[in-house]
C-alpha cells in the first residue's frame, strides 16, 4: 500500500535520485540499497526503473528492512519509485 498519492509524491524533493533504467532484477534493488546508504534517516530517495516489477519489489524490500515505501509515479516508459529511509 502506498503512503502517498501521486500529487503528494510530486511535491517531494529526493535527497538522492538513482537512474536504474535498463537494469534487470535485482539491479534496481541493489541501486536503491546503495542509494539509501548515502542519505540520512528520514530522507527520501527516488529510483527510476524501466523494469515493471521494480515498484512491487522495492516495496517488499523496504518493508522488510525498515524503510517506508511512499509510492510510484508512472512516467514516460519508466517508474519513479519513492522510499523514505527508516533506519
Amino acid at each position: 500500500m502506498c503512503a502517498m498519492d501521486v500529487a503528494e509524491l510530486g511535491t517531494l524533493t529526493a535527497a538522492e535520485v538513482i537512474d536504474a533504467r535498463g537494469a534487470a532484477c535485482p539491479g534496481p534493488l541493489l541501486e536503491a540499497r546503495k542509494g539509501m546508504g548515502k542519505v540520512a534517516i528520514g530522507d527520501v530517495i527516488e529510483v527510476w526503473s524501466s523494469d515493471p516489477v521494480t515498484k512491487t519489489d522495492i516495496g517488499a524490500w523496504a518493508g522488510k528492512v525498515g524503510h517506508e515505501f511512499l509510492g510510484v509515479i508512472e512516467d514516460d516508459g519508466y517508474d519513479r519509485v519513492f522510499i523514505r529511509r527508516g533506519k
Binding site: 534487470a24 532484477c25 535485482p26 534493488l29 519489489d57 524490500w61
Partner: protein, 121 residues
C-alpha cells in the same frame, strides 16, 4: 534466530536460468539483511570455475558473472561439492572463484539444517 536462506544449484552451463535465478534470489536476500548461502553440486560446480560464468546469460536477467560479482561484494559465500569438483578435474587451488569454498556432505548438512529455508534449483 537470524533468517538464513540456502540455495542449492545443480545446473550450470546446461541450464542458464537454473544457474542464474538462485543468484538473483541470494543477492536480493543479502540486500534485505537475510543471510544467504549458495551450494553448488553436480553440474552446478562448473559456474564457480573462473571465467566460465562469463558465457552464461538467461534472458530477462543480468549476466551470471555480474550477479556472482554482486553476490561476492555483498559478502555471499559459495560452497562447492568436493567430489563433484574432483570428478570434473577442476583444480580447487587455482581454478575456482575467490569466494568459493570446497566442502563435503557434512558441511552441507550443517548449512541446510541451520537455514530458515532451503531451495534447490
Amino acid at each position: 534466530m537470524a533468517e538464513k536462506l540456502m540455495f542449492m544449484i545443480t545446473h550450470g552451463l546446461d541450464h542458464p536460468e537454473h544457474a542464474t535465478i538462485p543468484f538473483v534470489m541470494a543477492v536480493a536476500a543479502l540486500a534485505s539483511d537475510v543471510e544467504a548461502v549458495i551450494g553448488l553440486q553436480a553440474d552446478g560446480v562448473e559456474i564457480a570455475v573462473k571465467g566460465r560464468a562469463d558465457s552464461v546469460a538467461a534472458e530477462g536477467f543480468p549476466p551470471l558473472s555480474k550477479l556472482m560479482n554482486d553476490y561476492k561484494e555483498l559478502g555471499g559465500k559459495i560452497l562447492i561439492c568436493g567430489p563433484c569438483v574432483k570428478s570434473r578435474q577442476i583444480d580447487p587451488e587455482t581454478q575456482l572463484v575467490e569466494n568459493a569454498e570446497v566442502v563435503a556432505a557434512a558441511r552441507f548438512v550443517v548449512e541446510l539444517t541451520s537455514a530458515t529455508n532451503a531451495l534447490s534449483y
